[in-house]
Symmetry: C3
């Protein structure tokens, strides 16, 4: 499957020097059961110690390669529940039954950060892990703008999910009776303004005269801005304004105007393997809190239905790709600008990563 | 798996220049949801336009290779429900949001025919598609001889299903308590007369003194004729006559005699892939209409049970083949004459097809 | 997957010249339905004739390679239920419909033995099949010491199951709330004495001051001895003695002393394929019969729960192995002595088997 153009000398399908969303921070409780997941084919375990601090390590006990995620947290250690080998949070083995001292062995520790309600793990060279690379999101626990969250998995290559997020014209078709109707807009009839910018792509657009759902005949102007950031983060802000605002703003960003209501979306695509992908998403509304609570529950139903629609379409698309000679051409249309920029962004990043690794190797061999 | 002898220079497992049964015509309604299926590893979509006319195309939108079978029919077009690309029934793209004119692209159209209640698609060179090649069947909607129909799938190579149909001695064993009992005959104790004839194999036989099921002790002579036609069509006619008729006819076909009752079977084997096969079948009785209606419902129960027996045997056989060195010999017995002729028929047809393709290539390169 | 060190010139993953446990003898009734299972990738059918005698053959009819396990037993023959080919218990074909004489063909017969409630099949060179190689077990039908039995399957390589049985320190972790509690002992805190001896490994140990489960505060000394024998048989005997007995015996085997109670375990690991493994186990208690009956039912619940715990751990371990470069090192700890001896035992046996086959080939070519 030729999802991205091959980088010369590079066999990899995944960016490694990246922060990936591992899951929702709320799903791990202090001292509770650790969580094991596979990220870009690497088994990783994440847990909180008794103080609530996050830790991440390879999910593989160096003794017999059993998963540490089936283990238990004891104070500041994680213990493999196959034969009892125990590790400190710096990866060092500190206990093995019948051995004193404990064997001189460590497990790989992953940089891990909790930010905006997500757990982020860095899968590449630790020396390069810089938290400032983590793209900004909202977080789901802000009482001013509560969000509802969920996680699903796709039987598809992650780039097919990226494609989906970088071309929202599909809302009119895949989500005809869900998100399109809830948005009151027609997503395929006008094109967003797209700008590429250092590891991210920004999409902006006005929908003039959009329907206000549930209010028959009422019209609004809706401003939408969304960002796709590496390795697969999608952040959307929507805001509804009185009819005529788009013209008033000369079709540009409405600055300093108070919208009638806002919605926000926070989504992350994390490759599990070449054939399976995790998707962690949340949706929120901003406005009068009591009214919003009811509306947010309704919206979450729509969003969950819509992502099920995406899952069905993308998995069906994957099955067709599996039956298709990779050399079979695909027609390029204006809507592909976003997916195309995303693909070039990944290719460029993979090339950078490849060159960095090679440079490091040359440096190492010179020493 | 060496199901057929390899044709030199030919990697293929399937006949391509063939009419395959795609499914039952009744399952598509005018302007309704299109149907996507895989035939010999080709994803194909079939739909009816508002006038009820059938159309078939590759089930792959040329934009992002999403399946058109998840699309919708709009008048005389089919629209991909991923991003809205729309095609005429001649395959030409006539609409893409944000593009005017629409992109100059077409999808592959498959010759498609409705005949005898089946939808037939031609998977090879369109120039060679000739409807007269379609073998005759009965159709299930004839009020004089109504049939009941069903479709199932096997986790097995299609040739193992062909084998099953070309050697009905298995009725005595696989269908001991179902079809054998319903037939009142012993299928393994005598051999049918077998003739091979231009893309088809005809089997004919008398069962003398067969039991009339449900009528204790009553005996009849039963004449059975069945045809296996490429690429996998099986048509059977059975007729019960008074005891002694076989002798009266000197063991040959009873011409001009009115039978006591008749049954008919219409079956199609369509390869999905090398490991999965579709099976579309119907059964019918001919006689006094009211009585037949009740009996037909009972017969359909027997037939459905019997084909479940076949499925279990053939899938179990496939699992043994998967565990077996393909070089392991198989014992040839008289019962294999039918399967052997079928195999030679397919080999010859594949060789013809291979030679035709080569000849076309030589011609093309000479031009 | 590098589960064992490769034997030079030998591609095999399995010992062949071995008696494998096929299943429980009680599951086959005289003249009843034959049973088909896959042992080291070989499809095998076992049945009892009308006299109750066991027979084993390749589960593959030489006609069309359908499984004989879907066939039926007729007197002293087994008949394929696809087309009726019938075989004597010496493998010779004695009947085929429409053929007289029957075709001159035989199926491979496997040496098969019923011993200690198990059915054993020999998968290698018949000339080498010697029943005295079968390791001793208990049998589940002895009225003096009744056992309860079960069979499960693992999605894992058989050596991961062997590892599990050869290092019972895992009882403290995997079976913390089941077997560990039921044993009243701490399995990871002391090491057993381990001796390797001609195709088997013996483990022996005292647990001093173990809890007597259900009797709060009461303490006993428990003597455990268990054997792992090729190709994957595990036999355990446990006996509880009054506190102080271990000291009295100077930590050696208690000879001639009557224990308070005993338990016995009989387990067999049989590879199905490189990725799937069968596990046939039984548990028994020895003591006052009426009281034991109730306790045995309870114990069987604990044992079944424990082997489900093993299954979850071992299958999770297998998934990690599947994601791991086989060159990744594993830390060797004292607990690995048992698994290590087991691995060396298998390697040595595979080398012997390989040399035997080569010697036979040289001898054959010299003749």
């Amino acid at each position: 499957m030729s999802y991205i153009r091959k980088i010369e000398g590079c066999d990899d399908m995944f960016l490694r020097n990246s922060w990936y969303v591992f899951g929702w921070a709320k799903d791990l409780i202090p001292g509770g059961k650790p969580m094991g997941r596979v990220v870009i084919e690497q088994p990783i375990v994440v847990w909180r110690d008794a103080q609530g601090m996050l830790h991440a390590a390879e999910d593989r006990c160096p003794h017999r390669h059993a998963p540490l995620s089936m283990g238990r947290i004891k104070g500041n250690t994680i213990q493999c529940m196959y034969h009892g080998m125990t590790f400190r949070t710096d990866g060092r083995c500190v206990h093995m039954p019948l051995m004193d001292p404990a064997p001189d062995v460590t497990i790989r520790i992953y940089p891990v950060v909790e930010k905006d309600s997500w757990i982020w793990v860095w899968t590449g060279d630790c020396a390069l892990a810089d938290e400032s690379f983590i793209p900004a999101a909202f977080g789901i626990d802000d009482v001013e703008r509560p969000m509802k969250s969920n996680s699903i998995e796709y039987d598809a290559h992650y780039q097919l999910v990226h494609d989906n997020l970088c071309d929202l014209s599909h809302v009119d078709f895949v989500h005809d009776t869900t998100l399109r109707q809830a948005s009151g807009a027609h997503w395929s009839e006008t094109a967003p303004r797209i700008q590429s910018n250092r590891g991210a792509i920004r999409f902006q657009r006005w929908f003039e005269g959009a329907d206000l759902p549930g209010q028959s005949g009422e019209k609004v102007d809706t401003w939408i801005t969304y960002d796709f950031a590496l390795p697969g983060i999608f952040i959307l802000k929507g805001a509804r304004y009185p009819l005529g605002t788009a013209q008033l703003c000369q079709q540009t960003e409405p600055v300093g105007l108070e919208p009638l209501m806002r919605n926000i979306e926070q989504q992350a695509v994390t490759p599990i393997s070449k054939t399976r992908t995790a998707y962690h998403y949340a949706t929120g509304l901003i406005g009068d809190t009591r009214e919003m609570t009811r509306q947010l529950a309704e919206r979450m139903d729509v969003v969950m239905a819509a992502f099920e629609e995406d899952r069905q379409m993308i998995e069906a698309q994957q099955r067709i790709w599996d039956l298709t000679d990779p050399a079979t051409p695909k027609v390029f249309v204006p809507q592909d600008k976003g997916p195309h920029l995303m693909r070039r962004l990944i290719e460029r990043s993979m090339r950078d990563e490849h060159d960095t690794v090679k440079a490091t190797e040359i440096q190492a061999s010179a020493v």
